[in-house]
């Protein structure tokens, strides 16, 4: 029987630190919010293995419960024919009855206690000592003060040192000690003492060290995960810290020794002395049970009950695109699931327009530095390491201040004055915000990201223009390369309209520590305004166009690219550099702008059906106002619902999805299979879309199924800790994951990736990048290939294509979207939209 985390018996500090760092939650500090697979540590296993193991080892509730699934079945969200078909496929006709009985009637035990924690729990079992209570408050406060980015008035002394070094300095020169026990203090000051020595004191048996550390760190996985995240990505903090998991463990062990000295007196024995048998090895294999199997079948039935409709829709929705005489405009949007409905409205109000989806950084992989900014902000997907910098200059914008966040109110004397003056002003402010919410310095607005009237250093004038190893602006070649890649991948290479909009997106909210999670994921949780504007600049550049022409993309001189930013919370849109338009284009733009406005209003109306506080039968323009008001209301915890209900990613031409009502559940990436014989564009698309959309999808999945352990719980009691994370109350652990208000309407479905391309080419492409293929092979993202000409479907299953025939019959047609939207709040099935013409 193995007794440690790994088969090797003895303690290897570097390895266990590495393992811990791997399994701990990997959420960055609040200023950047990058969606990722919450169970990233298990991603080398298959999805269902991961559910089973994470549940058994760490006690996560990794899926809906069988009872919850049965309830979904009763409510019709899991369809009988799908379930039956899947059971037949999996077990054969002859076992169907037995499996149906298991699915519906068989009672299963609740999961038992997880493996994690069993060893360290012996302190409580054998000695009635609650080490957590004795250690956590001091430890959390230390960590929070150390990592703090600007809440405390008196910052942590010596924050430039490592935590351990700083504490040693503090202890050496102080009348007061962090500890009560002299021994703990002596151990801290002795620089020869390492983790192994401390563990020998506390645990005793070397074989158990690893497991003890896992138990210990997973008692506060929020803080440990944050420390590991800062250690791995020091850029995550503006005011950087030399944080390390090793220091955290060192200090925690000292605090444990201090607590044990205090409670048990000097002569206590290590944990191993009173504990007979070793608890079960933490990472030993987890055997599958029938219950796991039943959960798997339910999960798949839930997913395919929806996917089957979509696939049926793709086959049935074969409407011929109206032959367009002259395109009025083209518009590039982010692939974000929140943009789909807006595009649908644009297309319905102006059938002559054409819309595209591509990751919202538009290939502009750069850092951005706003004027007066002391730091650089990354505005491209998180894994990308930019080599360029775009700087803002000639901005006339002033930052507003708010005395309520001023630290003077907290001091003794000025606080005395402030309470008696500002205090009364506060009452008035509260009163005003309750009745007339408006923008304030406390609001996080997507339009603050960049001053639309300032200028940007998009073009590199001189290769020597380098700042901190980043080239300022792009050379003509570099610009041409980026424009070519984007236009080629989405298939916009000819028939350019006079105006091509490049629309980034962002979000606005107030009183929302998770604001970064609402912005564009492809811009590392920022608004996409800089990228949109930069892309438009590049595509308008004459020398760039010259180079593009050589590579086969001929953009006529009359075509103008125009950057824009769309706020998904407020349904507002702002266009940049309008004065650069020709007169004719200005007139065209004026016409288009009316279309955008109307689409914004209707989109607001469609979104409002999920909001209880807005009557969605009101007129679109009225609802639009109400939706805007939400984004600045202090008391509104759901300014928008963000990616909730996302379930699909469609890579293909717009004709695949244009006639379907998909209820804002799909990421849409434009792709023209005819232009990609070697799959180069597809590879680029999948390399970005799979981790980004898959990450978003799985973060929503896990935060939804276990909002307490994998999500952040309700945001209403959250307390901001050091500007790096949120916790409940004063002494709580950090809570990574998404708060309940973001995921409550989400159905936990994995992402179905639908690719319009020949299946053999798709198979070839996905295998070119092992990282991307891992997502698909393990079933973390599901994949269907659509044969372009016949629209025959193939489902990826264990490395092979299986033909897929949708079971859903003819989809219902919907004539009037408005009445549909007003009908109810819940998810809609897939409808075909009757086009007006």
């Amino acid at each position: 029987m193995k007794t440690t985390v790994h088969a090797t018996a003895l303690f290897d500090e570097a390895r266990v630190l590495h393992d811990l760092s791997h399994y701990l939650p990997a959420q960055a500090p609040l200023k950047d919010f990058v969606h990722h697979n919450t169970l990233h540590a298990f991603q080398d296993r298959s999805f269902f293995e991961a559910l089973r193991e994470s549940s058994e080892i760490f006690g996560y509730k990794s899926s809906l419960t069988i009872e919850e699934f049965r309830e979904l079945y009763r409510r019709g969200l899991i369809q009988e024919r799908i379930l039956q078909q899947q059971l037949k496929d999996a077990y054969g006709e002859q076992h169907l009855k037995m499996w149906l009985q298991r699915m519906f009637q068989q009672p299963y035990d609740d999961p038992g206690q997880p493996r994690i924690g069993a060893l360290r729990d012996q302190w409580k079992q054998c000695h009635h000592i609650d080490l957590d209570n004795l250690v956590h408050p001091t430890l959390f406060r230390l960590l929070c003060n150390y990592l703090d980015q600007g809440i405390s008035i008196w910052p942590f002394p010596l924050a430039n040192l490592s935590l351990l070094e700083a504490l040693r300095h503090l202890e050496r020169d102080s009348w007061v000690s962090l500890f009560q026990s002299k021994r703990a203090k002596a151990l801290l000051l002795d620089e020869q003492i390492g983790l192994r020595d401390l563990l020998a004191l506390v645990v005793g048996k070397e074989e158990w060290f690893d497991q003890y550390l896992f138990d210990q760190q997973f008692r506060h996985q929020g803080w440990s995960g944050m420390v590991a995240a800062v250690e791995n990505q020091p850029m995550g903090l503006l005011d950087s810290r030399a944080a390390s998991l090793r220091d955290l463990i060192h200090v925690e062990l000292l605090l444990e020794i201090d607590a044990l000295d205090r409670v048990l007196g000097p002569g206590w024995q290590p944990l191993a002395a009173d504990t007979g048998e070793a608890p079960e090895a933490l990472l030993a294999p987890v055997l599958p049970t029938e219950r796991d199997e039943v959960i798997r079948r339910w999960q798949e039935a839930l997913e395919w009950s929806f996917f089957d409709q979509i696939l049926a829709g793709i086959q049935q929705n074969r409407l011929v695109m109206p032959a367009v005489r002259e395109k009025s405009f083209q518009a590039l949007f982010c692939i974000d699931d929140r943009e789909g409905s807006f595009r649908r409205y644009l297309e319905s109000y102006d059938p002559n327009c054409e819309t595209f989806g591509t990751p919202g950084f538009f290939g502009v992989d750069t850092y951005f530095q706003p004027q007066d900014g002391q730091f650089y902000t990354k505005v491209c997907p998180n894994p990308v390491r930019p080599k360029h910098l775009i700087k803002e200059y000639q901005s006339a914008k002033k930052r507003q201040r708010d005395a309520h966040f001023s630290k003077h109110a907290h001091s003794f004397h000025s606080g005395w004055l402030i309470t008696q003056t500002l205090g009364f002003w506060s009452a008035l402010r509260l009163f005003i915000n309750l009745f007339r919410p408006s923008m304030s310095p406390a609001t996080s607005s997507s339009f603050q990201h960049m001053d639309p009237f300032a200028r940007l250093t998009i073009e590199n004038r001189d290769p020597a223009d380098v700042e901190n190893e980043l080239q300022i602006g792009y050379t003509v070649d570099e610009m041409a390369e980026r424009v070519y890649r984007v236009l080629g991948s989405i298939g916009l290479v000819k028939e350019f309209a006079p105006l091509v909009y490049v629309v980034g997106h962002g979000a606005s909210s107030v009183n929302n520590p998770h604001y970064a999670a609402y912005d564009c994921g492809a811009c590392s949780g920022r608004a996409g305004s800089v990228n949109a504007r930069a892309f438009a600049y590049m595509a308008n550049h004459l020398s760039v166009r010259e180079l593009l022409r050589k590579r086969g993309i001929d953009i006529p001189a009359s075509t103008h690219f125009l950057g824009a930013l769309r706020d998904t919370t407020r349904d507002d849109i702002t266009f940049f550099d309008i004065d650069s338009l020709s007169l004719a284009n200005q007139q065209r733009h004026a016409v288009n702008e009316a279309v955008y406005t109307r689409a914004s209003q209707c989109n607001a109306k469609e979104r409002s059906r999920r909001f209880d506080s807005i009557e969605s039968h009101l007129a679109p323009e009225v609802i639009h106002k109400l939706v805007q008001r939400r984004s600045v209301s202090l008391f509104e915890p759901r300014p928008e619902l963000n990616h909730a209900t996302n379930a699909l990613c469609i890579v293909g031409q717009r004709s695949l999805s244009r006639g379907m009502f998909m209820d804002r559940r799909a990421f849409l990436n434009s792709y023209d299979w005819r232009l990609d014989a070697d799959g180069a564009h597809l590879l680029n698309i999948l390399n970005a879309a799979v981790p980004v959309c898959g990450g978003i999808n799985l973060e929503y999945y896990f935060s939804r199924v276990d909002n307490q352990k994998l999500g952040a719980g309700s945001k209403l009691p959250h307390n901001v800790m050091g500007l790096v994370g949120v916790a409940n109350g004063m002494d709580g652990d950090l809570r990574p994951g998404l708060p309940k208000q973001m995921i409550e309407v989400h159905d936990p479905l994995r992402l179905l990736l639908i690719v319009e391309q020949r299946p053999d080419l798709v198979m070839d492409v996905i295998r070119r990048n092992e990282a991307t293929y891992g997502w698909i092979r393990g079933g973390w993202v599901l994949l269907v290939a659509v044969e372009p000409e016949t629209r025959a479907m193939y489902r990826f299953e264990e490395g092979k294509w299986l033909p897929y025939e949708p079971l859903t019959g003819p989809l219902e047609q919907v004539n009037n979207l408005e009445t549909l939207i007003e009908s109810h709040q819940d998810n809609f099935p897939v409808y075909l939209i009757n086009q007006p013409n």
Partner: protein
Amino acid sequence: METWLIIFILLPVLGFLISLIMPDSRENLVAWSAFGTLGIHLNLAVLFVGWWLIQGMPVLHGKEWILYETTGYTFFLTLYFDRITAAYLLVGSLLIFLVMLYSKTYLHREAGYKRYFNTTLLFFSGFSLAIFAGNFETLFMGWEILGISSFLLISFYRNRYLPVKNAVKIFSIYRIGDVGILLAMWMSHHLWHENITFLKLGNDALVSHHLEEHSMVGAFVSLALLVAAAAKSAQLPFSSWLPRAMEGPTPSSAIFYGSLAVHMGVFLMLRTFPFWEHQASVRVLVGLMGLTTALVASGIARVQSSIKSQIAYASIAQIGLMFIELALGFRDLVLLHVAGNAFLRTYQLLVSPSAVTYLIREQFYSYSPNQRSLENWLPCRLRNSLYLLSLKEWNLDSLMYRTLWNPLKWLGHKLDFLDLKRALLILLPIYAAGLMLLWQEDHIPASLHTWLPELFALIGLLAVLKSFVERKKVRLSLALIVMNHFWIALAISFNEKFEAVHTLLYLSGIVLSGAVGWAALHWLKKQDYGIDLDQFHGHVYQYPRTALLFFLAAVGLTGFPITPTAIGEDLLFSHIHENQMLLATFVSLSLIIDGLAAIRIYARVFLGPHVKTYHEVAHRSS
């Protein structure tokens, strides 16, 4: 004008009752029952205060409602209105209305939406009763309602560990405050030989006449009041509870721990100001306490790196200044300060989640790596020491444990050999003997007789201590609480000849609550075997009704004004003589621990992380 006063108490009570019968699923109805009544409350408050100003700000005193009367003792409720009430009324009514409006949307879809509004209205009912109180008895009732509803608000997220743990912790501190008032009431009975009204307390001549004769008694009463005020307003040494109370939804933390609840201690000192203003030593003490609190809390606030605890300690520091102002006699300034601090902290807490956006933006644009704080001019050693002390909150949080609860627990554990059978076998015969002695009271030698009350009270105290530390047997713990009250009744019966009906009044509520509690536990045990007191079980998740029933029983056992015990408690106290400090100490300690033990059972059995795993359960540390 006096007849109008009652309306300000009845309105929130009415809102509370209406909100109770509203269906859970209808958020709008629940919310409307709150801000409908509170909106009327606010409007009436403004009109009434306006009218009162025009009338020249007379001191109003309502009529006396006598609840119980016997020779030499009258228990009555009465209302009172002066500028202190006016200020607290306007601030409280305005803030609660705004925050209810805020919460209507903010709490949308939160499990416990209705419970939140119920509890808030209950809280405001208690607040109104306390600020309009015309005598200590009325004030005490409001005070107790505040305590219980605070417990409920802090443990709003009742299936998580920390909120429940902190709610119990804070309840224990409030309990000390409650007993402070109880002792003050007891001693002032002896001082005035009646239930003194605040109107009479304003009579300078009367007060100074009494105090001249009994200066020690006066000092005792003032000290007891100061303890109560310090506990409620988070002054030293109780300060550490305030940041830990911020466990509920942000608006509830904002209004209760940012503003209303935390200023109640100041209110108590303002209300009793005429009583202690002539006692120089008390004034010095009040001022010193305020000063040390202001200094220490400012220091702690400066090192806080979480937004809510920073606001909490900054607020404590301001309240410390209020105590200094009180000691100096600037009462109007105190009122202004209370209002300003209440508004400011409420707003700061409500916008606290925005701190991330705002401060990160500030940092982004105006960061400088070597920011220096005020402390940099201090010598290094002193600076480091101060930092570590502030970081550890001057050990205030563990202070209560080390100085009060741990010794008591140690004592309780000495009785670990008791189980239900043994407890009954040992205690019942002694009790029977006690009753026999009582029957034959006239034949007991006087030297023995004087010690009997103390002896029986001590046995009672030990019983409840055992209850407080019991780890396994839930029902034993409950039984010991009930027994404790019987011992107290026996002890005091030896003290003085009084009618048996007093005892009956006192014990009736106890017996009823005990029986209900027992039945609830018995029923629960049938559903789920294996409840103990060693961990939290969280059964409220599955059995909310049983939990409610047991909760009512538990508060009944603590003398909460839902049973006649509330009056009986006061009455029994009045039978303790002023020279019986030991007896008073035993009885008051018993009452503190009774309440704690009862709430502890409730918390351990019904609250905290659910033991069952068929749904999401939060990590203990979160």
